[in-house]
């Protein structure tokens, strides 16, 4: 496992991660870094310990599960940065597998997309609406988390990892998508990258609108076009490995808030 054994949280800030399967990489990294245990908390929504994350209060209002709030309050004596990594694979529902009615879209109004025969160019607004529908639970969770944030905590959105470029890797590690890959093919990487970028922009817009921070993928984890570097691929089509967790943890904890383009 790669990663620097550095002194962590030099300013004494504690880090609370909350989210779904993308946090497994961070959990694995943390297992290899016992020195962080006192300053890092991971609230994993997939392990059933805080299920459901949103529940009804006595008055019938929907609130964040109090068990989550309690775990955030573990670090009452110091500043806390809460990093939200809710879901984070909804963009893959639209683009990982080639759609039976292939589509593309223009991400930037000035861009020119090369359209092959049989590929439909969809309005960006339509793709964004589809992404929002697929991921609306993320925005609900963020809203509830914001509302329940302890006074000593700030919240930022942890960008989901970018897609893997290599079709060979995806075919070799198809996981549950085996049949879909075989039947329809893998979505072209430029489209997978654009859908992910569009999703990230939606998250950034949400962060800006609600005065939240935004943690972009470490630039050191990206290849030239902006996809995930091979050393961080997991043995499935959508997740990252433990090395990525280490990299992210180091990146987050050592990050200077003024470092351009990384820590929003």
């Amino acid at each position: 496992m790669a990663g620097r054994q550095q002194t962590v949280t030099p300013d004494g800030t504690a880090h609370v991660f909350i989210g779904d399967s993308h946090l497994f990489a961070v959990q694995d990294a943390l297992a290899a870094r016992p020195d962080l245990a006192g300053q890092v908390e991971i609230i994993q929504l997939r392990d059933g310990s805080v299920s459901p994350p949103i529940m009804k209060s006595d008055t019938g209002d929907k609130i964040l599960n109090p068990l989550i709030t309690a775990r955030m309050e573990r670090f009452a004596d110091r500043p806390v940065r809460v990093h939200a990594a809710f879901r984070g694979n909804d963009h893959n529902a639209l683009s990982l597998v080639q759609h039976a009615r292939p589509f593309d879209f223009v991400l930037e109004p000035g861009d020119l997309v090369e359209i092959e025969d049989g590929v439909e160019l969809l309005p960006r607004d339509a793709v964004e609406a589809a992404l929002f529908m697929a991921s609306r639970r993320v925005f609900r969770l963020l809203s509830h988390l914001s509302a329940a944030l302890p006074e000593n905590a700030t919240l930022d959105i942890l960008e989901p990892p970018p897609p893997v470029r290599s079709e060979a890797h995806l075919r070799a590690n198809p996981g549950v998508f085996d049949a879909e890959f075989a039947a329809h093919g893998i979505g072209p990487w430029p489209l997978r990258l654009k859908i992910w970028q569009l999703y990230c922009r939606m998250l950034q817009d949400h962060a800006a609108e609600h005065a939240l921070g935004y943690v972009a993928t470490p630039t050191t984890a990206l290849d030239g076009p902006g996809l995930l570097k091979p050393g961080f691929w997991a043995a499935d089509p959508t997740h990252t490995n433990a090395d990525y967790g280490v990299h992210l943890l180091d990146w987050l904890i050592s990050a200077d808030d003024t470092r351009e383009g990384t820590y929003g």
Binding site: N89, D90, V106, P109, E120
Partner: protein
């Protein structure tokens, strides 16, 4: 008693029997359809907003309502209507005038390329002047705009070439057009996009002769690509929202609808492929005492639509032969990819947890 032509006229020819002595909901000015639409016939619709009801009823009744421009399956269901899919056979929005109809045909076949093709908004969005309502907020880029228009015009060609019955609702005679090349807009530039410029745009109010000439020209075009096509004309009962003439809107409504009704009468007398369906008469007839209009005296109530469509289905369709519509199955089919992928993504994330033991 002397014999005279009225002696042999049927009951429906007499006001007393056809209207005065008939319950309002049973008034039937259709009498007999010109032909019968079978469940296999592909029915396309276009025209003013009233034409939308025909689409709705036909597809809900198991008939083959032709749709050649379908939403991409990833588009969320609640946006399908907002993006103006399935409102008509293709995504052309309201076609209020016969001039618009012919120009749509010509644009689809590359016979007409209007000089004013795009309206740009202040925030750099792109609006289609010939269907300004089909894309909420307009298109984000010129490439999106051009691609969507090309797909649309291809869908229009497919419609004209494959339809069996074309139902067209005549809506207006008043229109706005480009001085340079006569391009007819569905709505005055500046109202829902674009910018009105008196040096480039002009008002025009069509005459009976112009409407008849347009409909003849349309038939020449349509029969040229689809000789078996039949056309059902209706006149929209919806009054004008506003007139550009220097007179009361009620006068303009009467003149406009009268011109359209006379033109429809002339064309159906001359061209056997054309039939007229009296939705205008059913909604505006005095027998309902205005009861088919909402409080604004303009919007048509569902009772009125039901009366119109009940008669349409009775006289123009073989309703007994129509299969039951299975719209749920259709929706399932269209959404299957995204739903399947959402489920698999969820399973994938669950498996990532299980893999950890």
């Amino acid at each position: 008693m002397a014999e005279h032509p009225y002696k042999s006229q049927p009951a429906h020819a007499f006001w007393s029997r056809a209207i005065r002595d008939t319950l309002p909901g049973e008034v039937d000015p259709v009498v007999q359809g010109a032909f019968t639409i079978s469940p296999r016939d592909k029915v396309a619709t276009a025209g003013s907003c009233f034409a939308q009801h025909i689409a709705r009823y036909l597809s809900a009744s198991g008939f083959h309502y032709l749709v050649t421009e379908t939403p991409h399956p990833i588009l969320p269901a609640h946006l399908v209507k907002e993006y103006d899919y399935n409102t008509f056979t293709a995504r052309y929005g309201n076609i209020y005038t016969t001039g618009q109809l012919n120009q749509l045909f010509d644009r689809a076949y590359g016979e007409f390329a209007p000089a004013e093709q795009i309206w740009r908004t202040d925030d750099e969005r792109f609006i289609d002047p010939f269907r300004p309502n089909i894309q909420p907020g307009g298109f984000a880029s010129a490439q999106e705009f051009n691609h969507s228009r090309d797909l649309h015009l291809r869908a229009v060609r497919e419609m004209f070439e494959t339809l069996d019955v074309f139902v067209f609702t005549l809506g207006l005679t008043e229109c706005w057009r480009a001085k340079a090349d006569g391009a007819v807009f569905p709505i005055c530039p500046g109202v829902m996009g674009g910018e009105f410029d008196a040096s480039r745009h002009e008002f025009h109010n069509m005459s009976v002769d112009e409407v008849v000439r347009d409909l003849r020209a349309f038939w020449t075009r349509l029969s040229g690509v689809n000789p078996r096509a039949r056309v059902i004309l209706t006149v929209s009962p919806v009054p004008l929202a506003a007139t550009a003439e220097d007179r009361h809107v009620l006068q303009s409504t009467t003149v406009s609808k009268s011109i359209l009704r006379v033109a429809a009468d002339q064309i159906t007398r001359d061209l056997p492929a054309f039939a007229y369906f009296p939705s205008y008469e059913i909604i505006t007839g005095t027998f309902s005492r205005g009861g088919y209009f909402a409080d604004d005296c303009r919007s048509v109530l569902e009772d009125g639509v039901a009366h119109v469509m009940g008669l349409f289905m009775r006289h123009y369709t073989d309703a007994a032969a129509a299969p039951s519509p299975d719209r749920r199955a259709e929706r399932r089919r269209k959404r299957s990819h995204v739903r399947t992928m959402q489920r698999l993504v969820e399973v994938n994330c669950e498996e990532a947890a299980l893999d950890r033991g």
